[in-house]
């Protein structure tokens, strides 16, 4: 036996086959139904937006890190796709480029790269473009979906989102909101597609139901209690708040971003509930019709504190009276 070739390392000696890349690829797979739905509803323009965003994000990361492997761990592609999903379906191409690059560089790399960023990079990208070119993202800029019309120019007819007012809200049925046939961000409209993707992530063990559960639960309850019941009753109004706008996308894919959310089980529930409360406070009593982005970014900021205060009781341990 050749003794020199033996690897002497610390236990355990076997590892799961999961890697950062495989996890990120799973997230991309999970986003596929929503991406497909976006193309079905908004046509080729949605496809172009997604391609530009993903390509820019991957390129920005590869350039910043001076890496040749453009896919690498897959996290930049995820950020790029998520960023596209929180844009209108057909924004100007330069806005997509600037936003996706900001997501990677300001949202992630300046903090030290993957694992070190505090805020959800895709939402940082969105905050940047909303602040700089709000005219393209606020108001009556939202395309009407044109199902199965791949080549249609969807930018011709624009309207406001169902969240902008009661009239707009009542114009869409719960069924349409669930399937996704409503004006809104490219990837946020179809609850069905998002749920399908999230089911995959749950099956692979990449998300914990406490975050989306807490988030969606609170939105429903607050929508039902404080929503004024305008949407055909308290419960349906609660449901409306869950299905309209970015709650589904936010709760299932943004608030479950691993890096920027708590690692403790209790912390995850608190995070989800916090997101729900802030979202609804903005929607119901704020100046802006939608609050998901800022709710998640705010909760991102307090994530380290949440983790610190929710250290679990170890096996067989007893609570110390503080």
């Amino acid at each position: 036996m050749d003794n020199n070739k033996m690897v002497v390392s610390s236990s355990p000696h076997i590892r799961s086959i999961e890697s950062v890349q495989s996890v990120m690829t799973d997230v991309l797979i999970a986003l596929f139904p929503a991406a497909l739905m976006a193309v079905l509803l908004f046509g080729y323009q949605a496809l172009i937006t997604m391609v530009i965003s993903v390509a820019t994000a991957m390129l920005a990361e590869a350039l910043w890190l001076r890496k040749r492997d453009i896919y690498s761990d897959g996290s930049a592609a995820v950020t790029g796709l998520l960023f596209a999903m929180v844009l209108p379906p057909s924004p100007p191409w330069w806005l997509v480029v600037v936003g996706a690059a900001s997501a990677i560089i300001i949202g992630k790399q300046v903090f030290g790269g993957i694992g070190y960023n505090i805020f959800n990079p895709a939402l940082v990208g969105r905050a940047v473009v909303v602040m700089s070119w709000g005219g393209h993202l606020v108001g009556r800029v939202w395309s009407q979906p044109q199902p199965f019309a791949f080549t249609a120019d969807i930018s011709a007819v624009t309207t406001a989102t169902p969240l902008s007012g009661q009239e707009e809200a009542l114009a869409v049925s719960l069924t349409n909101l669930f399937i996704g046939s409503a004006p809104g961000c490219l990837g946020e409209t179809s609850a069905l597609a998002l749920l399908l993707g999230a089911a995959w992530l749950f099956y692979k063990g990449h998300i914990d139901l406490r975050i989306p559960g807490g988030f969606i639960g609170v939105v429903f309850v607050m929508g039902a209690v404080f929503g004024g019941g305008f949407y055909g009753g308290a419960l349906t109004t609660g449901l409306f708040h869950v299905l309209a706008g970015g709650v589904m996308l936010g709760a299932l894919f943004m608030a479950t971003d691993m890096v920027t959310t708590p690692v403790t089980t209790k912390g995850k529930l608190i995070f989800g509930i916090g997101c729900g409360i802030i979202t609804m406070m903005i929607r119901l009593w704020g100046t802006s019709p939608e609050g998901v982005t800022y709710a998640i970014l705010l909760m991102n900021a307090v994530t380290p504190i949440i983790d610190n205060f929710t250290v679990p009781q170890q096996f067989g341990g007893v609570k110390k009276s503080a």
């Binding site: 036996m1 033996m6 690897v7 610390s10 067989g316």
Partner: protein, 441 residues
Amino acid sequence: MGSAVFKGGIHPDYHKEITASMAVSKMKAPSTVVIPLQQHIGAPCEPLDGIEEGVRVKMGQKIADSSGFVSAPIHASVSGTIKTIGAYNHPLGRPVKAITIESDEQEEWDEKVKPPGNIDDLSPDDLRKIIREAGIVGLGGATFPAHVKLSPPPEKKIDCVVINGAECEPYLTADHRIMLEKPEEIIYGLKLMIKALGAEKGVIGIEENKADAISVMEQAVAGEENITVAPLHTKYPQGAEKMLILVTTGRKVPSGGLPLDIGVVNHNVGTAVAITNAVREGKPLIERVVTITGSGINKPANLLIRVGTLVSDVIEVCGGLKEDTRKLITGGPMMGLAQPNADMPVIKGTSGILALTDQDVYIAESSPCIRCAKCVEACPVQLLPTSIAQAAEHDLFKKAEKLHAMDCFECGCCSYVCPSKIPLTQWIRVAKAEIAKANKK
């Protein structure tokens, strides 16, 4: 039963099919054995008077002992002549004083090895003495002297003995085979423990992936009103002391405490058989069942091996190692120790010899933590491995201690699941060592 669960844990590939159906065969005693004087947790032994180079010893003869209570004597595993007494490689890392005996192939038992008489007349103290003198330690790998566990302080009332047949480490099948082949000895050993402790009942926990062992053991306990078999979910580390006791008795060993604090003593199935052999036949612990397996072993097997047999001799009997073997491990893949070579003896705690080839050896650079919390979910004692490891990396050992680093029993689940391949267990081990050092001062 079988419904109780512990939080956390993992489901690795078990690879037990390699050796599970292979009956234990006796490996021929080697021409030379190297017997370390420390094969247990506690005080090391010293050679007895008259045990010197050139002296002839008989099989089963006690050759080294210690006056410490937490210790276990050492016996000759062959008859023959002592060649040297000196430091030799040891599976635990540093070389340890060892007695090398050249076998005369006579296999002559020491006169003292004989049945101690009517077993029913033996008092709990007699039993403990016999078990101590037989040098029995925990054969699951922990190597804690068995008689110490059977001597709880008088204020601790023990009512339940838990026998560990979980064998949750991947690859290993030694305990599985013992359960299939020696059920009567296991039950008998368990009854002796119950008697020594004045306990009321016994329970044998077995993972459900060993259905044949469960049915054999169930048959063996039929008619015993105070002994039951508990089928357990197949999940690593089901056989870890705290997890096993929780799922078989519903009791939680307190943090920093011992099973006896909650009225439980636990022993491995192999230990139960060793106790039976010691009490019924007076035989000291000079051999044990070892699983030799893994992608790097040409002829995997479950072998009954004399303590002190060199790992290299064992591997030779198993057809040698494959060309591309990259890792040699004593014990299982989750908690075993990687060895630089095979020039070291099988000791009382060696449950397995595992050789892994290139394809099974994971060498990858770690990347930054993506805070996926998989380590948190996997930790069976509910720690935050990522936070403790990070504290350790930054020399923040006070913080690591606050995060209960000392409760970590190094099961390896956190490192196993980490997608960033961070050696979490290793970092936590560093933290534990530093905390222990600081607390000693």
